[in-house]
């Protein structure tokens, strides 16, 4: 396991090289870019428009940096000149490259100068300019070496339905080889042709769009149908209308499938989030019978641990640590929350094992105290936890978008459920835990230290909550009240799944997640949530013990 993680880490670090600002770019292109940065706005736009067919990939690199506020103006020979910095996210001083020549910035004696990016003035971009930058990058995308960029670039150009791009796209059709790009290119050309083409070309394009199942072209197709239907019957273009109606139907059918697949994925991912937050509770409440109202604060401890880890790691190892701190934060947040759970068990819960109502009140008090401590220590406002790059973005498979962070949560949920099940079923500790939970006095008779086992079980359950918090820091808030948002959900999952049954918890989490995602498009998020709650109430009327009613010592 460790080697796999390390290998993944190495791959990730290698995959993200620093941009080589120094070597790339033809001399005249660099000159033009440097002129553009300092020119008045109208000229900037003109220069950038001209650069669109330069075919030089450095243009996209420089413009992307500019758009992101990473093109800096630094004094050189008495005047501010455009400079690209080695790593614009760095908090440490880094080297700068002159945009005009690609030289490393140095003072008169040849000593290399370094700059802290945050302290430098970035070149301004107005909205109009950013639009032109984007357009230039789009046009450049036609000749981009990366097929993925090329594919999205050609489609965007096609959607603009502008004659000048239409011609460029048609020219590209003759030389494009990559099948994926070719598909997008055809789609783009077809969309453009709807507005710009000859009548028979329009009909052909309508057909093409249907064959390509073009979501992007759907709006234009619907417009055609609408305008045709508004015309008097005599003037209608019957073949066009028929073809368009057929294409729209094909695309709609396809969309229905995409929606189903997307909803399934989102349901599983929401279910995984619910599962992760409630698994710890399934142990402490489900197995041990402790109503722990401070469970939410254990989640918050996990979230804050991830936050602290990010701070410490970036402070110690620089910004590169952003890419891997999360892997360290996972065990750290487990340990912190487990430790907190241990202290809580020894100081409060141990004294209240046979008095569930008192333990409810006491743990609620603990939850308020912890919440206030977070407020005192971290402030009332939420803190920001940055996600590593490999958790951002998404994988798109035939128009179903699978977010990397969502795939990670599913994987994560599977792993911790497996680990928990293995621990319970295959280890001596798990055997002891089960024995103590089933009959504490009997377990004590055969020589199990029941008090110690309960302590460890509670710490384990709390540690799982910490893991949940660590993951939630990547998709939501970390703040003093973050646990409150999930405590109700997690009790809901554990109760619906059947108290004391891990398998039930898994099924209930997935079921609730799925139902929620399926109802949302129909009823909206508010009514969707209400319906899920009503469904659970009715379900519990029908099966009061939850999905898998279990008998445990504490419930007898």
């Amino acid at each position: 396991m460790r080697t796999v993680l390390l290998a993944a880490l190495v791959v990730l670090l290698v995959l993200k090289p620093f941009p080589s600002f120094a070597e790339e770019g033809a001399v005249e292109v660099r000159e033009q870019l440097a002129d553009a940065v300092t020119a008045p706005e109208e000229q900037q736009i003109a220069i950038l428009a001209a650069l669109a067919d330069s075919g030089d990939e450095f243009v996209a690199v420089a413009l992307t940096a500019w758009r992101r506020g990473e093109m800096f103006l630094i004094d050189h020979d008495g005047a501010p000149v455009p400079v690209l910095l080695e790593n614009a996210d760095s908090k440490e001083p880094v080297r700068g490259f002159l945009l005009r020549t690609g030289e490393v910035m140095a003072d008169a004696s040849g000593k290399v100068l370094t700059f802290v990016p945050k302290e430098q003035k970035a070149a301004d971009t107005s909205s109009a300019l950013r639009k032109q930058i984007k357009k230039t990058i789009d046009l450049l995308a036609i000749s981009d070496s990366d097929p993925e960029n090329r594919a999205s670039g050609v489609l965007k150009l096609g959607l603009m339905q502008r004659p000048e791009y239409f011609e460029v796209l048609k020219q590209r059709l003759a030389i494009e080889k990559d099948p994926d790009v070719l598909k997008k290119l055809k789609e783009g050309i077809a969309v453009s042709a709807l507005a710009l083409g000859e009548p028979d070309e329009v009909v052909a394009s309508v057909k093409t769009l249907g064959e390509l199942r073009s979501i992007a072209g759907l709006d234009s197709l619907n417009n055609i149908i609408k305008t045709q239907e508004e015309l008097p019957a005599a003037e209608q273009n019957a073949p066009l209308l028929k073809e368009a109606t057929r294409s729209v139907k094909v695309i709609d059918d396809y969309l229905a499938w995409v929606d189903r697949a997307g909803t399934a994925f989102r349901g599983v991912s929401l279910g995984s989030v619910l599962l992760i937050v409630s698994l710890g509770l399934a142990i402490t409440f489900g197995l041990m019978g402790v109503i722990n109202m401070a469970h939410g604060e254990m989640i918050a401890i996990g979230g804050y641990s991830a936050y602290m880890m990010e701070k410490w790691m970036t402070a110690m190892f620089g910004d590169g640590a952003l890419q891997w701190y999360f892997l360290v934060a996972i065990p750290f947040s487990f340990l912190m929350a487990a430790l907190a759970g241990l202290v809580l068990e020894r100081s409060v819960i141990r004294l209240l094992y046979r008095r569930p109502l008192e333990s409810l009140l006491a743990t609620w008090g603990v939850s308020l105290i912890l919440e206030q401590l977070f407020r005192l220590y971290f402030g009332a406002a939420n803190v920001q936890v940055n996600s590593p790059d490999w958790l951002q973005g998404s994988l798109v498979i035939s128009d179903v978008s699978l977010g990397y962070n969502r795939m990670f949560v599913i994987l994560f949920a599977v792993l911790i459920v497996l680990a928990t099940v293995l621990l319970m079923a295959k280890t001596p500790l798990g055997l002891c835990i089960r024995a103590v939970m089933q009959n504490r006095d009997m377990a004590a008779c055969v020589g199990i230290q029941t008090s110690k086992i309960r302590m460890m079980t509670f710490a384990f359950g709390s540690g799982l909550a910490g893991l949940a918090g660590c993951f939630l820091s990547q998709i939501g808030n970390v703040g003093p009240t973050m646990g409150q948002n999930y405590i109700v959900d997690s009790f809901m999952v554990v109760v619906a799944g059947g108290v004391g049954n891990l398998f039930g918890t898994v099924l209930a989490a997935m079921g609730i997640g799925m139902t929620d995602q399926m109802l949302q498009p129909v009823l909206g998020p508010v009514m969707g949530k209400v319906c899920v709650l009503i469904a659970i109430i009715i379900f519990l009327q029908w099966r009061p013990g939850g999905l898998f009613a279990a008998r445990s010592r504490s419930l007898d």
Binding site: G69, R266, L270, A381, N382, G393, S394, D516, P525
Partner: protein, 458 residues
Amino acid sequence: MYLLTDLLTPILKRTLPSVALSATAFCLISCGGGTTSETEEAATPEESATTETSTASTPEPAAASSDDTVKVGVLHSLSGTMAISETSLRDVLLFTFDEINAAGGVMGKKIEPVVVDGASDWPLFAEKAKQLLLEDKVSVTFGCWTSVSRQSVLPVYEENKGLLFYPVQYEGEEMSPNIFYTAEAVNQQAIPAVDYLLEQGRKKFYLVGTDYVYPQTTNLVLLEYLLSKGIPIENIGGGITEQGGQVASAGKYTPFGHTDYQQIVSEIARFAASGDACVINTINGDSNVPFFKEFAASGLTSEDCPVVSFSLSEDEFRSLPTKDLVGHLGCWTYFMSLDTPENTKFKDNFQKWLAKTTVSGIKKDGRVTCSPMVLSYNGVYLWKAAVEKAGTFDPEKVMEALKSGVSFDGPGGTVTTQSNHHLTKNVYIGETQADGQFKVVQSFDSVVGEPFLKGTFK
């Protein structure tokens, strides 16, 4: 001067056993949950002490002001979910009072603030308002953030003929004789933002918000406006609910504290697939974090589909992932980044005041200024100008003076009061930068505040 420490000593002596101790003790256990009833003690001991002063001091018969001071109420949530936003307004109000007192006060009288905690609990706001008006007999109150808290105190102010200044952008459709709205009306925020987007060639608008009165009302007004601008109804995303042939609700709504935006963002991605789309975001508070994280993760960018947010200002950016927000838009009547002498002076003085203030519970590092803060600040100066114009502290006469029109050169430009209880002010549209500031991309000068917009666009 209302130095809290000075006030504290005698009160602590008198009430230490009963109040202060229980307040501190209670504070530890109770202010966390944003729960309802224990809110009175939830403020820090010093704050309770301020409240305590006013109740403990012998009520003065009729006059709202003693010889050399005038009592002014501050009614904001200092605990609970809204505390994050509202404490900033308390801070800026205390700063403004100090600034005015240092310059000689209002008509020779020093301002004596009475700070009470609404504790994010709407009925409690009404109780606290009653206390301010009947027991403390304040001449004016500055307060409220959410529309529901304003509507909860409205009857109290109308019944007792008080005067309330309300500083936070809101949905309009209201004009109480006893409230002065320094806030942005819909036509000073949402409408200019939409105008800007239309100008940028955006043709499809997706509406998303938190499910309560402000987003719902604003989006209904926007729907009418967009239709009047020739945007076909199928280009307005988020869903439209009709009841009895009338549009009852436009847009997609999520509950407060919603955390799962997968479905909505995938809908937006689909909506934006054919280009020229934008999102109008009235999501409030915490939920913006998962929304923007999901938005960024789905690969949508601010060029493909910009999001204009009406509830996010510089103050909120302190706890948001600004990296995911770069290029998205905001629209307010003040930005911290405005480069005017008034704004520079305001920011400098506020930072200086923060550095030396002894009021406890005020966070001193990393503070920013934002539109609701400046509108609170403007409100105090407008009240001062109106009092001086009327020559009395009597709320009714002051309101008359306000309606006749007074001006103040504030940090966001000159503001002038109107007879409809709103302000004429400049409106700015800004793009979010990575450092959590706005860069102005367009400004509209002297926009007249108009609360009643529904049904006016044809």
